[in-house]
């Protein structure tokens, strides 16, 4: 079981793939998501989203606004245009 993660900005998909864990800075504090997590819709504040892929190294994305949703192991992290501007380097 793995999480199906998609990190999207208005202009494009920044990262997508399978991950074993995602942690994101939700409004009330950092939030870790593992497979089988209950459905969540959360607002993001400034911080770092950390995605641990099934294979390969962890990916860190700096965010300053957006939201993320979890629904039946489908994780979608939605960034704002301004937040996405400085993470252009991520493959």
């Amino acid at each position: 079981m793995a999480l199906n993660v998609e990190v999207v900005s208005p202009a494009r998909v920044l990262w997508s793939g399978e991950a074993s864990m995602v942690s994101a800075p939700a409004a009330d504090g950092s939030m870790g998501v593992l497979p089988g997590h209950q459905p969540v819709l959360a607002v993001l504040r400034n911080g770092v989203v950390q995605v641990t892929p099934v294979q390969g190294e962890a990916v860190e994305i700096e965010v300053d606004g957006g939201f993320f949703s979890v629904d039946s192991d489908q994780v979608t992290i939605v960034l704002d245009a301004s937040a996405a501007a400085h993470v252009d380097s991520i493959g």
């Binding site: 208005p10 494009r12 607002v43 704002d80």
Partner: protein
């Protein structure tokens, strides 16, 4: 007589120059359109994610939000018209502006005061020429819209929608843009964007109890974050569609222009040949009649 040939030669040459220009513009439009479509495709996942989230909230909670409630305290309505920055795109802007005028007419017939927001130079000059006041306009990159500009447009409009009536708040927002269907068919579309009507049930109700959504920090805050983004993404999508449509219309118009130029060149070449033939015939008959006259004397 030789003067006529020269005139035709000049015309042929100038039409050829024009043809080269049209051809170049057609190629430029053709190369940009694939990029524009690609960008529209890249923006799709974001729009999908937002729409899914919005409909999830709509299905799993019934919170009222100021962006979804009708306003009755003012009769001002906002209209966003998305046009092109440049002409040379056939009837693209004209068709869109006609649609916009129709909407403006019907809104005014309902007794509403229309506040105009315009994107694209063609729309700005159209309304300025007719002395229609424009509240705000954005020009500069209609064929390559940036997410930041879309965000600015959306924020301006959201601000107008949230403003109190006495400060120029508006009760509705209508967007007029051109939807890109295929390379050969683009149609003007009118969408009422605000107040929002969230009806699409993309998140299908599962069997048994629907999954309980957890909202962080709360339903109201999540909607506060979600709905403006939804509007932004819708407006960005409208801009991208309009850009692709504009380029497609331009490519088509330029192809027609090239064809017409070729037709003209063909016609002028015929006329030139006729003129040359007439000249030769005349010269021969002059020589013959001259020789006849000499022989007779």
């Amino acid at each position: 007589m030789a003067g006529q040939q020269r005139v035709y030669n000049q015309r042929i040459k100038s039409t050829e120059t024009l043809k080269k220009m049209f051809r170049a513009m057609e190629l430029i439009a053709a190369s940009r359109i694939s990029k524009a479509r690609e960008r529209a495709g890249q923006a799709a996942p974001y729009a999908r994610a937002i729409t899914r989230a919005v409909s999830a909230v709509a299905t799993h909670s019934n919170v009222e939000h100021r962006l979804t409630t009708e306003r009755s305290d003012t009769n001002r309505v906002a209209m966003l018209v998305v046009t092109a920055d440049r002409g040379m795109a056939g009837a693209y802007s004209a068709t869109l502006l006609r649609e916009a005028e129709r909407l403006r007419g019907s809104l005014r017939a309902e007794g509403k005061e229309v506040v105009l927001y315009v994107a694209g130079r063609r729309g700005v000059s159209y309304y300025t020429f007719r002395n229609v006041p424009i509240e705000k306009s954005w020009t500069g990159d209609s064929d390559n819209p940036k997410a930041e500009v879309a965000e600015e447009i959306a924020d301006t409009l959201l601000e107008a929608f949230s403003a109190p009536a006495e400060e120029g708040g508006v009760a509705e927002l209508h967007v007029v843009y051109t939807r890109f269907r295929t390379m050969v068919s683009q149609e003007p579309r009118v969408v009422r964007m605000l107040p929002l009507e969230v009806v699409e049930g993309v998140a299908e109700p599962g069997e048994g109890l629907p999954p309980l959504y957890e909202f962080e920090p709360g339903e109201g805050e999540v909607l506060d974050a979600l709905l403006p983004r939804y509007i932004r993404s819708r407006i960005f999508n409208a801009l991208l569609q309009a850009a692709a449509s504009e380029l497609a219309a331009r490519q088509r118009a330029m192809r027609t222009a090239v064809d017409n130029a070729e037709d003209l060149i063909r016609t002028y070449t015929r006329l030139k040949n006729t003129a040359r033939q007439a000249e030769i015939t005349q010269e021969i008959s002059e020589i013959v009649s001259g020789a006849d006259a000499l022989a007779a004397s």
